[in-house]
């Protein structure tokens, strides 16, 4: 029916025209029913998306002709916002321009969805819709909404945009921002003054948009303002400004950029500044570090004189040695390292020290110290400490810094003096506490025996390798008294210290493994097994190990050693005991209640212990439990229960296959479990129920 309407042409023959008229009457009859009207509306809305061109126009006209838009008008007056929204959508989709006036009133609706729908509708329906919207909207325009409006405007056929600069003075900052974007999109470059003024706007988004417009339209008048606002802007705005300056700037702006490059500390901005400079003046910055002077390359190397070559060689060779190398030589005599280095420092010209600062010259020989000199130094130090154990405060002037190598360009002595002057206020102000010595008593330092170095040298170390007893060997190193007092422990002659490995056979090895497992995991219940093993095993190692384990388990439970005859009887201990010890107060209350309900003679000892506790509630519950247990015990019910329990636990029968025992009936009146009921349903019944 619809396609007849859609593809009807005036040039059709009479029959087709008649058919068309009949269809018209038919459809008008149909749409009297609201349900049919709804269906038709849905179909037309659906087709609206799929059709274009003339067919679409016919469709829209059909929608209006049939009066289906009145239903949408009714929706606009509804109290429910989804209905209103649907109505707006329908009218927009079917392009009913008559509804423009009705939808205008909704652009400041309190409901956001209706507001946004209405905004899109008025922009869609009429060309002046965008102007009305920008004039009258009081709410913010979200980024997404701006995009949607722009999309509608972009796809509008034959749309002539208004001068959006008119709205740059709006009180609504979102309108100003949207207008700027529309200005940029439609390239309306006639609002330069307003754009330049907007560069100073407080809102950063508007500022950035204005900067974009400045860049887009090459507003050179804005450069001064850009430079003015630069210093108080945030990072994003700064980068946008630099971008704009890079685009429209000239060499006149380089000064500003250089200042910015010096002042900026944030890497991103700094690199942007440098990039901008390079954009305005390409290759403004060239590499300068480690670049040789022109004079270096000005003379030809072949014509260099011998003197110059030697000078170059000396420059390479003369270097500063930062650490003195001390090599001990038994025989050779050498100069003192520190003094030598100081002399060397004075001689070396370190103006070219950056070339090869770390290479060591072959000319310099490392100074050495003999052992004797080192020993003298050590002795002197020890004597000083013995005489005066406290560290004296020395002023900086007394301290010598000769050992420190100083790499400088000028004369070293001058520098050292300067350093001394600068540090004159600095005092190393610490010393040992005067009471320290008294508290600790005689310091160990005082008791140090002065070892005569000559004695050490006189020792013949070859004695150690000579034959003889230990005493004879160590005698020269100690005084006789010490040797007499020391008792050298002798090894017993009869001790059988065999260090050969012990190899067990497989059976013994398995037994040892079992014993290790018992040690890790077992308890007193393994005692019976252990006794059995003790009887059966002959290997002494295993016997020792078994004895150890028996001793270990027996110590823990010394009053409960099982005999060989009843290996499987349990120890007369309450099962609650272990739990009780590990539990908190609430759990103990629960356990006591359980003991009262089902406890026996084994629980009596535990309950009695609880009676001695301080907690009143626990004591009370223990008392109750004790009374109940005593009652049961006296009545003999407990004995029967225990007998039954032991009877149940005795496994002295073999399981055999027998016919199934009758299962106990549940409390259900129909008998059997739920599962049985389900299984008893016939398949047909089940299938019919479940389709």
């Amino acid at each position: 029916m619809i396609r007849e309407f859609l593809f009807y042409e005036d040039s059709n023959n009479k029959e087709e025209k008649k058919n068309y008229l009949d269809l018209k009457i038919q459809i008008r009859e149909l749409i009297k029913d609201s349900f049919d009207r709804k269906i038709l509306t849905e179909i037309l809305l659906d087709l609206r998306k799929d059709l274009s061109g003339q067919s679409q126009e016919v469709l829209l006209k059909l929608y209006v002709d049939l009066g289906l838009h009145h239903d949408a008008y009714d929706k606009l007056t509804s109290l429910r916002w989804p209905t209103i929204s649907k109505g707006i959508l329908e009218l927009t989709a079917m392009n009913v321009s008559e509804s423009y006036g009705m939808i205008l009133k909704l652009i400041n609706h309190r409901n956001g969805t209706i507001r946004k729908q209405a905004e899109l509708a008025i922009v869609n329906l009429k060309e002046e819709g965008i102007s009305f919207f920008l004039d009258n909207t009081k709410y913010k325009i979200s980024e997404w909404q701006q995009l949607k409006l722009l999309d509608v405007l972009r796809h509008k056929e034959n749309f002539t945009p208004p001068q959006f600069s008119l709205w740059l003075t709006s009180n609504n900052t979102h309108v100003v921002l949207f207008s700027l974007r529309l200005i940029k999109y439609y390239k309306q470059s006639d609002a330069i003054k307003s754009i330049v003024t907007l560069l100073k706007h407080k809102n950063n988004s508007i500022k950035m948009e204005a900067i974009d417009c400045t860049k887009e339209f090459y507003v050179f008048e804005g450069l001064a303002t850009l430079k003015l606002i630069y210093w108080k802007s945030n990072m994003g705005v700064k980068i946008a400004i630099l971008d704009a300056i890079g685009e429209i700037g000239s060499n006149d702006d380089l000064e500003f950029l250089k200042i910015a490059a010096q002042k900026e500390k944030i890497h991103n901005i700094k690199s942007k500044v440098l990039g901008t400079i390079n954009k305005i003046e390409p290759e403004h910055y060239v590499p300068t570090k480690n670049i040789q002077d022109l004079s270096y390359y000005s003379k030809d190397s072949e014509s260099a004189t011998e003197e110059e070559l030697q000078n170059q060689a000396c420059l390479l060779e003369e270097h500063v040695n930062t650490e003195p190398v001390v090599r001990l030589q038994n025989e050779a005599e050498a100069e003192f390292v520190g003094q030598e280095i100081e002399d060397k420092i004075g001689e070396i010209d370190i103006s070219n020290s950056d070339e090869h600062p770390l290479e060591v010259s072959e000319k310099e020989e490392a100074s050495v110290l003999t052992i004797q000199q080192l020993e003298e130094i050590t002795l002197e130090h020890d004597q000083r400490l013995i005489e005066n154990p406290f560290v004296e405060e020395k002023s900086l002037e007394q301290l010598s810094f000769d050992f420190l190598p100083v790499i400088v360009e000028n004369d070293i002595q001058v520098i050292q003096e300067e350093m001394m002057e600068e540090c004159s206020d600095f005092n190393i102000g610490f010393s040992l506490d005067e009471d320290f010595h008294q508290e600790t008593g005689d310091s160990s330092i005082e008791n140090i025996e002065q070892v005569d170095l000559e004695d050490i040298e006189a020792i013949d170390w070859n004695i150690l390798f000579n034959s003889g007893t230990l005493e004879e060997k160590i005698a020269p190193f100690f005084e006789k008294d010490e040797i007499a007092n020391e008792k050298v422990s002798e090894f017993p002659e009869n001790h059988n210290l065999s260090i050969s490995p012990i190899f067990l056979d497989d059976a013994d090895l398995e037994t040892m493994v079992l014993l290790e497992d018992i040690d890790d995991l077992g308890d007193e219940r393994e005692l019976a097994l252990l006794h059995q093993l003790l009887k059966e095993e002959s290997s002494p190692i295993i016997v020792d190990r078994v004895n150890e384990l028996i001793e270990k388990f027996s110590q823990k439970y010394s009053d409960d050693i099982l005999t060989e005859e009843k290996p499987f009887e349990r120890h007369d201990k309450s099962v609650f005991e272990a739990l009780f010890e590990l539990s908190d107060r609430e759990t103990r209350i629960v356990l006591l209640n359980e003991m009262a309900a089902s406890g026996g003679a084994k629980e009596i000892s535990l309950v009695k212990r609880v009676l001695n506790e301080k907690d009143q509630e626990l004591k009370k519950l223990a008392q109750i439990a004790l009374e109940k247990i005593s009652e049961r015990k006296s009545s003999g019910a407990q004995q029967e229960f225990d007998q039954q329990l032991s009877h149940l636990l005795r496994i002295d029968f073999e399981l055999t296959l027998e016919s199934g025992a009758e299962t106990p009936q549940t409390n259900r009146p129909s008998g059997g479990t739920l599962f049985d009921h389900l299984c008893s349903f016939p398949n047909n019944f089940y299938n019919s129920k479940n389709g």
Partner: protein, 121 residues
């Protein structure tokens, strides 16, 4: 007898409109709602032109082009109906051997013109 058009589109509403328009233009139209039906139809019939949507159940328009060109080895002109923004599919369709394409929303009149043009080549 008019030229035979195979219309392959799962959108019943649009397909019926296009069907009607093409019939009005003097063509015999066979409408298939999915790729499976198209395949079965092509096993036994040889239409003069195929108008197919790209997105279809079981068998897409791209696969249909490949089937017609490589398996059946037919040179039947094929017009593809694609959604706007589906450039990649359009390019693939042309690479496989489609003759023309039309984007949605479709103008049935425009489609009629394109069908006539392909058949007259």
């Amino acid at each position: 007898m008019g030229k035979q058009v195979l219309l392959a589109d799962d959108d019943q509403l649009l397909a019926s409109l296009i069907n009607f328009r093409l019939k009005k233009g003097g063509y015999e139209v066979h409408h298939s709602v999915n790729g499976k039906e198209v395949k079965e139809y092509l096993q036994h019939h040889k239409p003069d032109i195929i108008v197919s949507d790209i997105m279809m159940p079981y068998f897409s328009g791209i696969e249909l082009i490949d089937f017609v060109r490589n398996e059946l080895n037919l040179t039947t002109p094929i017009i593809i109906i694609s959604s706007a923004g589906n450039e990649q599919n359009v390019l693939s369709a042309f690479e496989l051997g489609a003759n023309d394409f039309i984007t949605k929303p479709v103008s049935p009149t425009e489609l009629l013109v394109r069908v006539a043009r392909e058949l007259n080549k």
